[in-house]
Point group: C2
Chain length 361, copies 2
């Protein structure tokens, strides 16, 4: 029934649906439920060390023997800059005092490791069907090992130039990440958010620019969006925010509540959470410190000084300091078990395609 | 053959295609060619006084007796602010000197009049099928006269909140203007460009939020985009940039050349051309003064001091100071007579819907 069988064959899946590996918002539980329903499962590893990631893979495999992706960040590790980090702590100090926290307490270390030898060892060991990278491909030495482990290599492109670069450098499938997408922009050849185009423009232009299959991401929440992505020439869709609504996701209470009602205009690209632009639902720290700010510490350091504020606020039921990552169309989401949602999306898409077909003379 | 016949019946057209009224880039010639091919023609009046607009209608009617829209801007007229205007002229003075122009010469007056009594008189007199507004609806007194003249009232929404406002205040059809769209954002309840969502997210959310028909705009260049818009629930599409490539458009040589090759990342929202955000192809003045700048004179005043620079540069074949309005997907455009392009879009869309239909089990 699917327009383009390339990725079904390449990935060994039933439906051309990929789950976004949403670090910090999900784990193997959502990943395995999605895989069992016929899509490509996901385990986000961007905030895990190799040992914990190995444990997540083990738990996934207890629940499912279906194909999955391991998702990694492949950013350049940050150059520490004491002055910037101190300035950021100074900006946050009034919030610390307001929440009864000591602004001079020590803060946690980065939780987001770039793809490295240890994580690459893990890939070689567990041989996931797919290794997926955000912020560009890893260095050639590591990429070669991933490919030798027979992994299909996915990477996000946010511009046509990035898509061409990825194809030339070994990506097997390209995620065309439209600006509607939730979470971090996968930008790696530019840091100018004014270059970031919507899914509607980006997908057909990338489809025309490369030969590898293109998966659409950004704003896809229901059968309408999936049918539209195929109409634009995508070979499949990557779904993220749609599955944050599921009980298997691991979002905080305030995050889950915000996802239900946020309109596109209630979301924005912000860099104050981590130092790199990402789409989230506007909250207090985005409004008061951003949504875009200069002079932040490099990715992912700004998250460190926010962590105690976030923990304290979330414990009190507030998302004021949390990254409420969300795509622009989140309010189209449905809260239901992930497997049921996959089934619903399949039938909605079929129905949508059928209704377009009925328009024929 | 079309999924939703509401707007065909409402507008008396054959195909659910609306031509964007692109002020400064087209006139009756493109509008009539589009109408003759079965879409809704357009005459942009945002940069015309009533007398010239009347002449444009007369010329359209010499070429076609098909339905058309008159397109108006309905912004609040600017409050003059000598200090801001002087500061803007100071910023541009080095360019004047570089191009051999006197920075102290007198500059032309605004060419963009907000919808007013004279233009409303014109509407009542010529009774176009459609009156289309950008930047919100005109004041109730004028809107009432337009409706009494039996015009269908269209207006652009860039957020869900704007769509709800338009439905509540009398719009008969809502244009969901995704952020991929070229030219001015129709924003009227917000001036924060971070609220501006892509077509993919905006269309289904607006479709769900209102009962009136929703027309998709932004990034729609070929049959893939049209089929995708219908998949998302649109009742029709508004096409702009796709038709700037046609010989009937009135874009300058450097503009036409730039439209052929610009990628999404080569376009950006800018306010330096007129004081309001609009998507154009990046050129020198956007790069050096924007793309977004604070402290500009109010819309449309910044265009005045740019006009002599633009005229001189264009005469020398340069678009350095021109508003190179363009949607994000312009490079998908085809340079062919407008009537042929309408026909091609119809057949491409049919083929696309047929190919989606073939995916059915």
């Amino acid at each position: 029934m699917w327009p383009d069988r390339r990725i079904l064959q390449l990935l060994g899946i039933e439906h051309p649906f990929l789950l976004s590996p949403m670090a910090g918002a999900m784990d193997w539980e959502l990943g395995a439920a999605f895989a069992e329903a016929g899509g490509l499962g996901a385990i986000p590893c961007a905030m895990l060390n190799a040992e914990t990631a190995r444990e997540h893979v083990r738990k996934f495999r207890e629940l499912s023997n279906k194909p999955f992706m391991l998702g990694f960040f492949s950013h350049k590790p940050p150059q520490p800059d004491n002055q910037r980090e101190a300035a950021w702590r100074d900006r946050l100090a009034p919030y610390y005092r307001e929440l009864g926290l000591d602004p001079n307490r020590s803060i946690p270390s980065p939780q987001r490791a770039a793809f490295n030898d240890e994580l690459c060892d893990l890939v070689v060991e567990v041989k996931p069907k797919v290794a997926s990278f955000h912020f560009g491909l890893p260095e050639p030495r590591l990429l070669k090992r991933v490919k030798q482990a027979d992994c299909v290599v996915l990477c996000s492109a946010t511009t046509v130039a990035e898509a061409r670069h990825l194809e030339a450098n070994g990506a097997d499938i390209i995620i065309a990440q439209g600006v509607e997408a939730g979470g971090h922009r996968g930008m790696f050849l530019t840091d100018d958010i004014a270059t970031q185009a919507g899914t509607f423009a980006l997908v057909p232009l990338i489809v025309d620019a490369v030969k590898v299959p293109v998966v659409a991401a950004g704003g896809i929440m229901d059968g309408r969006g999936i049918a539209a992505a195929f109409a634009l020439g995508a070979a499949g869709v990557q779904l993220g925010t749609a599955f944050l609504h599921c009980p298997e996701s691991k979002v905080s209470k305030p995050h889950r509540a915000a996802l239900k009602t946020a309109l596109p205009e209630d979301t924005a690209l912000t860099n104050v959470m981590t130092g790199k632009p990402a789409r989230g639902i506007r909250n207090r720290v985005m409004r008061e410190q951003g949504p875009i700010s200069d002079d932040l510490p490099q990715f992912p350091l700004p998250a460190n000084a926010l962590a105690p504020l976030r923990a304290k606020a979330e414990a009190e039921g507030s998302g004021d300091f949390s990254p409420l990552w969300s795509g622009a169309a989140t309010s189209l989401g449905r809260a239901m078990p992930a497997g049921d949602l996959v089934g619903l999306l399949v039938s909605e898409t079929q129905e949508r395609m059928r209704s377009l077909a009925r328009m024929q003379p």
